[in-house]
C-alpha cells in the first residue's frame, strides 16, 4: 500500500496536520521564506537592508527544509519502486504533442530533468527562468502554495484567496498560451 502512489484524501489531511503541528510549535507553515534566508546567509544584507535579518530566528524553517530533502530521498529511493506518474490519458496525449514523450513513464519529464537534457542550453534557460518567476513571484505575493493556498486559506484570509487566484491565472496562461510557444516541436 505504502509503495503505491498515495491518494489525495490521504495526502491532503496529512498536509493540514503538518501545518497544525507547526502552528502548535509556535511557527508557521511556509516554505518560500527560506529563499530569503538563503539570500541573507549568502550575504545579501550587504546590498539591501531587506536581507538584514536574524538568521538564527529562521533556523527552524531551514531544519524543515533539511527534513524535506531527507523525505524526498526516502520517498524516491525507499518507497517508490515504480516512479511513473499515472496522469490521465488526455494529459499524456497533450504532452506528447508538445514533445514530452516521457509523459506517463517517469516522475518528472526527462526532457527537462535528466542530466542528458542539460546538454541543451534551452533547458537551462527554461529552468532558470521558471525558478526566477517562482522566487520573485512568491516573495512579491508574500507566500507560496504552503503559505497562502494551505495556511492562509485555512485561516480564511482574503489576501491569500487573491494570491491563489493569481497562482491560477499565471499557471493557466503559462500552460495554455505560453507552452505551445516555448515547447515548439
Amino acid at each position: 500500500m505504502i509503495y503505491q502512489p498515495w491518494p489525495w484524501y490521504v495526502a491532503g489531511p496529512l498536509i493540514a496536520i503538518i501545518m497544525a503541528l507547526l502552528i502548535l510549535m509556535g511557527k508557521r507553515f511556509g516554505m518560500s521564506s527560506n529563499l530569503e534566508t538563503f539570500c541573507s546567509i549568502g550575504g545579501a544584507g550587504k546590498f539591501t537592508d531587506y536581507f538584514k535579518v536574524d538568521i538564527k530566528s529562521k533556523r527552524w524553517n531551514l531544519l524543515v527544509v533539511l527534513g524535506s530533502v531527507i523525505g524526498g530521498f526516502i520517498g524516491a529511493h525507499w518507497l517508490s519502486p515504480n516512479p511513473a506518474v499515472d496522469i490521465s490519458d488526455k494529459t499524456v496525449v497533450k504532452l506528447q504533442e508538445l514533445g514530452f514523450d516521457s509523459a506517463g513513464t517517469s516522475y518528472l519529464p526527462t526532457e527537462l530533468f535528466s542530466l542528458e537534457s542539460l546538454a541543451d542550453p534551452k533547458v537551462w534557460v527554461i529552468l532558470l527562468v521558471a525558478g526566477f518567476l517562482v522566487g520573485f513571484g512568491t516573495r512579491y505575493a508574500g507566500g507560496c502554495t504552503s503559505g497562502h493556498a494551505i495556511s492562509g486559506l485555512s485561516n480564511l484570509q482574503r489576501p491569500s484567496l487573491i494570491a491563489v487566484i493569481g497562482f491560477f491565472i499565471g499557471g493557466l496562461v503559462m500552460v495554455h498560451l505560453l507552452f505551445p510557444l516555448i515547447f515548439v516541436v
Binding site: P7, W8, A11, G12, P13, L14, I15, I17, I18, A20, I23, L24, M25, G26, M31, E36, C39, A44, F47, Y50, V64, V65, G67, S68, G71, G75, H77, V85, I87, S88, K90, T91, L95, Y107, F113, L127, A130, G131, F132, L133, G135, F136, G137, T138, R139, Y140, A141, C144, L153, S154, N155, L156, S160, I162, G166, G170, V173, M174, V175, L178
Partner: protein
Amino acid sequence: MKNVVYIILGSFLGIVLYKSEAASWFRIYEMFQFDSFHMYGIISSALAVGVVLVFWIKKSKIKSFFGEPLNIEDKERSFTRYIVGGTLFGMGWALAGSCPGPMYILAGAGYWPIFIVLFGAVLGAFVYGTVSKKLPH
C-alpha cells in the same frame, strides 16, 4: 529536541508530497489542464481539515507545546502585490512544475537539474528584495 521535531516534520512533509505526486511536474501540468481531480483533491481536503484545525486552535485559545500563547496574525491587506506576485508565481509554478517545498524534496530525490530551478528561485527572491521598495504593493 525541538530541532529533531522540525526535521521529522519536514521529512514527513517530503514523503507525503513525493508519494502523493504533488511534487511531480506532470501533476501540476495536469491540474492546469483540468484533466484530473487529484491535485484539487489534495488542496481541498487539506483545506477542509486545515480550516477546522485552525478554527479550533483559535477558538480554544490553546497554548503552544511550549506553553507560549499562540496568535495567528492576519495577512496584510492589499490587492496589487497578491494578484501580480501570485500571477508571476503561478507562471513559474507551471513551468518548473514545482513550488518551493517540492524543490527541496526533488533535490533529495536526486533530480539534479532542480538545483538550476532552486538557484533561479533564490535569485528571484534576491531581486525582489532589492527592488521591493520601488514596486507597488
